[in-house]
Symmetry: C2
Subunit: 359 residues, 2 copies
């Protein structure tokens, strides 16, 4: 059954997306603003379940690429959000039928809503990760042989490009340097998929899940229950740690927001991130790693905190939750496991077990 | 009258192009190899004068972009040379009728010959500079309002991109970072022009001039005359300095081969270059600068020496010659004058006079 994404659901959705953003994906407030503005101007968006997609659909992802820290100062307009979808539709010479989220996380859950509203297209209730990851090729469709290219990109000045690359890592490499040169934040559209390919390779129901997570936090607050516990329950995850942020080191390098945060509590928890949280270590012992989800929530309100929102003195709780199981295959771990990011450790699952796969 | 570029003329043409390359443009031997291979496989190329171009021609430039130092190790194949022209033709949805040189210099005078031969297209006897310059936007067509984009680029791996930018400087910026990421050497095609636009904005007869220069050097050697004097005469230039190379500093930064060379003779001559020679100073006094041509030739043989070919101990002579007069307008000097390259001096003409234009 298709359903409607209206303005009233955007705050819940944006907050839930910030949870699944696992520290990345940018300021949910900005993403919500953009989606609300698009819905106010163009009406609500029809969300379509994966099993409703026609076989011959032409589904394109749309997303922001760059350092989310930059986007806070450079809010995209609706023309900018539509730009790459239109450019890619023209390049492909076929009408685009659906827009989809590349990731479930932060602005990249709400930008596709804005794009779908402005373009008058339905939105797929699903995404390419079931969480957020920092690089373009890190989506399940890559594992199913879906090409990221042709990929269109555009900036707020009106510069547009279309890439056709030999693999999805090359799309990432060329689009990333273009993004850095173009001001560290561009809009991209790619991963052209048929309905059948989308059904096979996307994570089902992630927009609905974002709304459920956001609503869960809101309702728990209203009922004076524990929002953090509610999030852990909805995601089948667990609380790793509770404490106070005592140090945050970060820098924007090569178009990414990279850094570490230290949290003081019953011991010291270290978080290592590249846009998203990648590793949680307690006194030097690894508790959880990518691809499982590591999330930082404000201690009492359960408000998700992005890596750029981390500040000295914040009282926070750190959760871990399972990723889509497909992220734990050998091929997937080679793409998103700790070793890809330069940490010579195996993947640690949210429950503390260690992956047997040596990717 | 159209004429034929055959294999027998390639060595002269490549040597002449290396002279006009003013230190840049890469190894003429490599460019000649590529053009000869293409002519051997596909037959000679028809060179068309600017006044013969039909009004409704679709002329595209084709060139190598990147650090020529890299291309020495990475000889492009014919498929690679044709790649961006084909991609751009497809993007434009119209048949390309002519290929043109963006610059008269080094490999970028011979790559269009290879492209024209392999594609079975006529080649315009003209180019966008009348010399070589290091950046993509630095062509006379930019001054005549011709857009560099859509611009197609491709590498030897099979990665292709098409850019549509707001101005030619943005085409340079995005293509440049892509070139660096793609291995510091890519093929590009752009500056789509009608016959009328090409007639208005290109430098006429520069292929013929390259052959005349190369033949002039060869003949002077055969007749035991002075090849360097011959080059100076053909270009209407003068000899600035004669001496021995005593120091060369260079590095490949941001995709360019940047550096300085010092030559010891009657005083010390310093050359400053970014792919091409930009400034010649004698004991700290500026003798000549961009946009006029500064060329280094081997002392006796008159063999042109590229900046990457400069070595300690070489006996050389340094010539200066006038550029196309259109390069001395205020708008042109803002694009290619010394100040653009970071030197706070006015343009010095080859004859030692100083430009009145304060660009």
């Amino acid at each position: 059954m298709s359903w409607r994404v209206d303005s009233a659901s955007i705050d819940d959705l944006a907050r839930g997306a910030a949870v699944l953003g696992t520290g990345g994906g940018g300021d949910p407030y900005i993403g919500a603003l953009l989606a609300k503005r698009a819905i106010a101007e163009h009406g609500p968006v029809t969300a379509v379940r994966l099993d409703e997609l026609p076989e011959d659909a032409l589904v394109l992802t749309v997303a922001m690429m760059g350092a989310p820290t930059v986007m806070v100062e450079k809010l995209p307009g609706l023309d900018e959000v539509m730009g790459p979808v239109r450019a890619l539709g023209t390049y492909l010479g076929r009408p685009v039928t659906h827009v989809a989220c590349a990731e479930a996380g932060g602005v990249n859950s709400t930008i596709p809503i804005a794009a779908a509203a402005a373009l008058g297209l339905p939105l797929v209730d699903g995404d390419g990760m079931g969480r957020a990851f920092p690089e373009l090729q890190m989506v399940l469709p890559t594992l199913y042989g879906v090409s990221a290219s042709p990929l269109a990109f555009s900036d707020e000045k009106g510069n547009v490009g279309v890439l056709q690359t030999v693999d999805n890592l090359w799309t990432e490499r060329i689009a990333r340097v273009a993004a850095v040169e173009m001001g560290c934040s561009i809009m991209i559209s790619g991963f052209a998929m048929s309905g059948a390919q989308a059904r096979e390779s996307l994570v089902d129901g992630s927009l609905r899940q974002c709304i459920d997570l956001g609503a869960g936090i809101r309702e728990a607050r209203e009922l004076k229950l524990d929002p953090v516990e509610r999030v852990a329950g909805l995601l089948g995850g667990r609380e790793l740690f509770s404490g106070k942020v005592v140090d945050v080191q970060r820098g924007t390098t090569s178009g990414f927001a990279r850094g570490t945060a230290r949290i003081d509590g019953a011991g010291e928890l270290t978080l290592r991130f590249q846009n998203e949280h990648l590793i949680a270590e307690l006194d030097g012992r690894t508790l959880a790693t990518t691809p499982d989800l590591i999330m930082v929530l404000e201690h009492d309100s359960g408000e998700p905190i992005t890596t750029e929102g981390l500040r000295y003195g914040q009282r926070v709780r750190v959760l871990a939750a399972p990723s889509d199981p497909r992220w734990h295959s050998e091929e997937a771990l080679a793409m998103v496991g700790p070793r890809y990011f330069g940490y010579d450790i195996p993947a640690h699952r949210f429950d503390g077990t260690v992956s047997a796969v040596h990717a």
